[in-house]
Symmetry: C2
Subunit: 120 residues, 2 copies
Amino acid sequence: MQKSGAGLVKNNSEVEKMPMEGGAAIRWLITHKDGAPNFSMRLITVPRGSNTPFHSHDYEHEIYVIDGKLEVTIGDTKKQASRDDFIYIPPNVHHGMKAMEDMKIICVVPIKAAKEILGE
Amino acid sequence: MQKSGAGLVKNNSEVEKMPMEGGAAIRWLITHKDGAPNFSMRLITVPRGSNTPFHSHDYEHEIYVIDGKLEVTIGDTKKQASRDDFIYIPPNVHHGMKAMEDMKIICVVPIKAAKEILGE
């Protein structure tokens, strides 16, 4: 990743793809390492039949579905989502996603999550 | 918009489309009015040949290009971007986008911007 006062324009394929539990993969597109002060944009891909981990943490997700179909569990509720749907997952609520078709989502988190997971 | 401790799953077409200067339009998908504490996800569409306003403000943008082609100006630099590219625009840098083809982007801002623009 690249730090620049003049901003950043890149393709997602230029960013390292990191495996997640459950079969998903994540690219941290924009983080504090790029100078972002408040929140971090990630791209998550999940092949059909795989899932993101079912877990909970003290920060929220704001998600946009770029492609594919998925079932999202938020607390006790399961819902379907697909291309051009968006999802808000509040802090401290258990959640996970299963890909019904190959799926690609943007998932934004507070910068503190990026620092915890990637280091300062 | 809907406030829910159990989260939110919606299609972007369910959110009001508001005109912007220059020919663009914006949907504020997730804001403080939905309970989001830290940042706000918006969907911006710009028809070919139109643009977003060239302006500056004290907060950053994190952008993902869902569809289309655009020319983004960040300070003195112009770059092309298209589907699956991402853009970081730091605070206090003049910026604007021109659609070379009909374009659709996700643009995330701090929640303070949402409060300033939409009200508390």
